[in-house]
């Protein structure tokens, strides 16, 4: 089991009321969580990496409970094997697109500059964003920002990829391109995917859930 969520309950607020959320993800699996309100999905994904103020429950990733009180250093270390693709923002405005893409790799691994450039070229060409590499982050539109986020997450070869509804509002060719690239990198690294979606999700989901009535319910498609 790569990821196991047990009875996760959020501290109730005006925005979020989620109780007793449970699901599990094996290595290489793809789980889609449908959410009519995208913010709910975002908050759930953030809870999986310990960013939310949860009231109860456990999130086990590689034998560590991500929502337990951990030191910042320990928490940061655990997150290095998780790729997170933001629906909105998520890039660092102090850096340009190229620097954003290589940031996690440069920070956590010790990879030769040439190899980094090669990996960046490969992922950016696959996603059709190679012409944006020297751009500043604030020059990107919403879809381009999501694709740069995706490139940054894929290049690290994560064990778990959390994707926050990035296909919503994208053009058909961008969706096809992003889906194909995730598929190719998934075959290469064997990572599991947890994706939130309202209408557009990755086509090879092994489990589909829905967020409704303050809980997570399995959908048998």
């Amino acid at each position: 089991m790569l990821l196991e969520v047990r009875d996760l309950t959020f501290r109730p607020s005006e925005e979020v009321d989620l109780r007793q959320v449970s699901f599990s993800v094996d290595a290489g699996e793809c789980v889609v969580i449908r959410s009519p309100i995208l913010l709910l999905g975002t908050r759930l994904l953030q809870a999986l990496i310990g960013l939310e103020d949860t009231l109860a429950g456990e999130v086990w990733f590689e034998q560590h409970n991500m929502v337990a009180p951990l030191s910042l250093a320990r928490r940061l270390k655990l997150r290095r094997h998780i790729g997170y693709v933001h629906r909105v923002g998520g890039l660092v405005s102090l850096l340009n697109v190229r620097e954003n893409i290589v940031l996690p790799l440069s920070y956590h691994e010790n990879i030769e500059r040439l190899r980094l450039a090669e990996m960046t070229r490969e992922v950016s060409q696959s996603l059709g964003i190679e012409h944006l590499l020297e751009h500043e982050v604030d020059e990107l539109d919403a879809s381009q920002t999501r694709l740069v986020n995706l490139a940054r997450a894929l290049i690290t070869g994560p064990r778990l990829l959390l994707v926050d509804a990035i296909l919503e509002g994208m053009r058909e060719e961008q969706i096809a391109q992003a889906t194909a690239v995730v598929s190719r990198y998934r075959q290469r690294y064997g990572f599991a995917v947890v994706m939130t979606a309202r209408t557009r999700a990755l086509p090879w989901a092994t489990q589909v859930y829905e967020l409704r009535d303050a809980g997570l319910h399995r959908v048998e498609d």
Partner: protein
Amino acid sequence: MNPLGSLGRGVRRRGRQLGEMAALLGLLMRPRAYLGHPARRRIVFTLFRRQFKNTGVDSLIVTTMVAMLVGFLLVFLLPATAAREQLLPTFSELYILMIVREIGPVMCAMILIARAGTAITARIGFLKVFREFESMHIMGIDPVALFFVPIFWAFPLAMLLLVVYFNLFALFAAFLSLSPLDPDLGARTLIDTVLRQVDLQDLLVVFIKCVVSGFIIGLYAIYFGSRMRGRARDVARAMHSATTRQFIGIFGANVLISVLAYS
């Protein structure tokens, strides 16, 4: 409203702030976290170069203008206090005492606050508003080690650069102003006379003032930017708080260092 209670709360708040700033300073002074890793070192130096350019190099034009005005002013004040044959020695003495030792470091610190300190506080504030710290945490990246450290260390280095630059241009302006008063005055004579008046203690004091002022500006800029709650309206408040404390801090530090060194 109990005035004693308000005073107590104010003292406690200031005490907490000082504690937080001491903790932040401790993190910023810890080199192992960011220099022990070759690739991480590369990012830090890239950001340091960028920050040094934004902080120091881009302040050179305004520094030139201020330095030349101060140089002109110093010479303008001279004829009333010095006989013609005493012009050069009096000028040199005043130049060292006022420009090099006292006004130069304070002026450069003020330029740095106006040009870069406020910008850094706002920049860090907006990183918080747009939740970019959060996205760094999601990637397992510690923003203190990676982003704050280069910003912090760029300030003292920029201060040193600006003070040297300020002194040179003030001297240049003084030379232009002195030339009509003493047509025989050469640039070499002026420089030699000034250099004879400088001693090692003066240079050491100026160096300490630059480093301390740079640290004060950098620390306050980062501290007030990073402790914002993440609302856009907090950015202006953070800039205001940082600037006020930076001014008080650099004036206090400069006076204290002068008093300790020359009393």
